[in-house]
Amino acid sequence: MDPPSRFLHSVPTRFDSPDRLRFHHFSFPQLPLPRHDSSSAAASAVSPSSFSYSTAATSPTASPGRVSRGSFSRFSFASSLPGVGMDSMAAATSSSVPASGLTTVSVVNMPPPPGLSEKASGVGVQKSSKPLKEKTTKAERRALQDAQRAASKAEGGKAPLVSSGSVASANVKAAKPAKPSSQENDVAVAAAGPSEKDRKKDAPHPRMQYDDESRVVKAKRRAVVKQTEAKNRVELFRHLPQYEHGTQLPDLETKFSLLDPMYPAVYKVGLQYLSGDISGGNARCIAMLQAFQEVVKDYSTPPEKTLNRDLTAKISSYVSFLIECRPLSVSMGNAIRFVKNRIAQLPITLFESEAKAALQSDIQRFISEKIVAADKAIVRHAVTKIRYGDVLLTYGSPSAVEMVLLQAHELRKKFRVLVVDSLPKLEGQLLLRRLIKRGIDCTYTHINAISYITHEVTKVFLGASSVLSNGTVYSRVGTACVAMVASAFRVPVLVCCEAYKFHEREQLDSICSNELGDPNVISKVHGRGDINYLDGLTNNANLQFLNLMYDATPSDYISMIITDYGMVPPTSVPVIVREYQKEHLLV
């Protein structure tokens, strides 16, 4: 099935329509206009990369930014892409639209002719604004390309190109050799920079494997958030990204002024993820959706573009930013897929204001139906399972389970709760506080004691970040442990999870897909400064720290899954995924 990459911008998948329309969603001005300049910059989602690029750009090449229409085209594009020259040549023949370097460089040095600034935004323009082109001979152009290539090689990976994936995407699979006109548009579009070609080809996969050197390098060039990779990494988990913590925040803060295209609300959410202020599938998803609502509210379609594609591209770019702050959770991924789906389904005939209003209300409905109402339904089902005198065990701080416990307490059921917690996050303490405030009888312990206490437990309630198609529950690390011990004691394990978090992928272990947290936090014991035996050993070659965030619990240990569709056995997850998708198609 067409997966996750869908919600990651780049969109290569969209390139079916053979004509110029393809390029429409690269609303990026692609002309690296200097910041202080304009209007167009502000208006459209200019990819930050273009900015940084423009400052760095030198200008061996002069004007022939625009390729002359029709005549030769393809070759002009390759241009400044370092090392990708070959590729671009090849690609050009096969398709793509590179655009790029030519325009960028040239534009920087001359005050952009008015036509150009318009063009900046106008990808989809088609022939509406005639770009200024100079006719050059083939030889000249070749020379130009070589010069540019050399130049860009020189500047190399200087500025991280923030490409909002869209640019990349735009170019990426451009697929068929464009007609000349489209190429011309492409040229205008280009802008980005050396790695344009790369971007085109390597739309970062949402679950990109980070052990591939070249891809990592390319991803870095695209990145907004400059992250330094951690040095001392566990071999088994090299395919997951791991960065030095603590370096990103200050960096990001200073970058804010540069990241004009980044909408402030999205930026804020990204920062909150990075610092750990917002955590938990539902909270992250809601924060992101609310940020998107604001984006839509303040959005205005740039001239000559369609709302559908432009907005989708924008959303994609914001999503790449959020991924760099913290890898997406499944809940967020599904929500993004929903949003893009809704945008794509907006009828073209709607006025912009109507479309925006429709979109905002759709997002609002998603939040209220799929998250808030779903939680209420889950609570309603789950409280029927709590009996008089029950001893309920819960792990970590799942929002759904908390609601269930509070509601059961409201209904005056007599039960007590055992909160199991684990370092380094100690999320259980938050849950504990909230429960105690309401007067629920609680016991608190750490996960190393579960085999000791489970004999007195009657039911286990767990939360989930996601439930996969084979019934595996993907949740906070430690959940699998709790479930297995409970199962060994024949205690029923109930997982509370909203249906929008279900995913059609299947996972057999906790290794192939996971998230790595900050390794430094596990070298210290929270609250005990005197226990610091591992101080200074973080860079020791013989010692690697591994701080996993998630784990996968096999379906054999789960007794039932409580969702807003009711109580189902773990074997029925594919059915729910199927029904859920059907609903979306009909909606």
């Binding site: 029923p492 009711g566 189902v568 056995p569 029925s572 059915v575 029904e579």
Partner: protein, 353 residues
């Protein structure tokens, strides 16, 4: 199901009726009969609170008493009677009335799963029909009535379909262990005999209902060799058994079944000895319940006779049914086909979504 106002001594009406079907005389029944004789006019249902001259519960009980009628069919026939007697003029009104009737029926006998399932099914059908707004009221009403009638036929046909599906699983020379007296299983065995298959049946005594004896009576009429076992002799005889056949009072969402007390035990023994356990159940018995353990269902108690007097201080486990988790079941024969236990949830989701 959370325990609500069920008094610990409440006798499950469902199991009472079944006992009546089987012609089992219990002291309780005798006491009731005695009381009825002395006060011929007292209504047993005086405390139900339904004031209407038309009483859906009476109707239901009337239908239920027929030994050959499935519980759910009786429920639906009662609902059909509600429609006929109703004075509603719009679909909404009718729906509301039906909902009320269904709630009354369900609360009257909380232990009967088929009853609940049957009511839910019918309400579901009504809601779907009433969504068709363009029909005029009377034709919609008659359509509902028609559907209710058809349901009875469907139920009978269901048994035949199940019998047909299970023929492939009964081979010549096999030994089948049967527990409880399910009309569906009886149909299966009847059909097999009619198809000239050679097999023999071991039936458990089925205390306290004495289902074993009843079943053996029926099977002897069909010329099928029968052997009676004590309930405790099941593990002893499991070696010579090729498959276990049981019916179900209800099939729950996890794919497990709720059936007469003793089914769980037999399924456990069969599973540990690698013998397949087949369940024959009509699709209207699928219920949206999900018991986590034996005590997670509404208690259904029945009187148990020991033949001798028991000292007052001694407690008796009087539950009439148990829950068999899906991992001990091999296949379910239903009118929807031969299903594995995990498919039940799929069907339920499709039905009730």
């Amino acid at each position: 199901m959370a325990d609500k106002t069920q008094t610990p001594d409440a006798i499950s009406a469902y199991y009472q009726t079944r006992a009546a079907h089987h012609g089992v005389i219990t002291s309780d029944w005798l006491a009731q009969a005695q009381a009825a004789v002395e006060q011929p006019d007292s209504s047993v249902f005086h405390d139900l609170g339904t004031e209407k001259p038309f009483n859906v519960i009476d109707e239901f009980n009337g239908w239920r008493k027929q030994p050959d009628l499935a519980e759910a069919v009786a429920a639906i026939r009662a609902m059909a009677a509600v429609i006929r007697a109703s004075e509603a003029t719009t679909m909404m009104e009718l729906e509301i009335e039906l909902k009320k009737a269904s709630d009354t029926l369900k609360s009257w006998d909380k232990t009967s799963i088929s009853l609940t399932a049957g009511c839910d099914l019918f309400i579901r059908y009504v809601t779907r029909t009433s969504a068709l707004e363009y029909e005029d009221f009377n034709s919609a009403k008659s359509r509902l009535l028609e559907r209710a009638e058809k349901f009875g036929e469907i139920s009978c046909k269901a048994r035949k379909i199940i019998a047909m599906l299970s023929q492939d699983f009964i081979f010549d020379g096999c030994t089948i262990l049967v527990h409880g007296l399910s009309r569906v299983v009886l149909e299966v065995l009847k059909t097999a005999a009619q198809n000239n298959k050679l097999f023999r049946v071991l039936c458990t005594e089925g205390r306290p209902d004495g289902t074993g004896v009843l079943l053996s009576n029926e099977l002897t009429k069909l010329d099928i060799p029968v052997k009676l076992l004590l309930d405790s002799a099941v593990a002893y005889s499991m070696d010579e058994v090729d498959m276990v056949f049981v019916g179900a009072d209800g099939v729950v969402e996890s794919g497990g079944i709720i059936n007469m007390m003793g089914t769980y035990q037999i399924a456990l023994v069969a599973h540990s000895m690698n013998k397949p356990v087949y369940v024959a159940a009509e699709s209207y018995k699928f219920a949206r319940l999900y018991p986590l353990d034996q005590k997670d269902m509404a208690p259904a108690l029945r009187p148990i006779e020991f033949g001798v007097k028991i000292p007052a201080k001694v407690e008796v486990e009087r539950s009439a049914r148990d829950y068999t988790p899906p991992q001990y079941l091999t296949l379910l024969f239903t009118d929807l086909g031969v299903l594995s236990p995990s498919v039940v949830s799929d069907e339920l989701i499709q039905l009730y979504l």
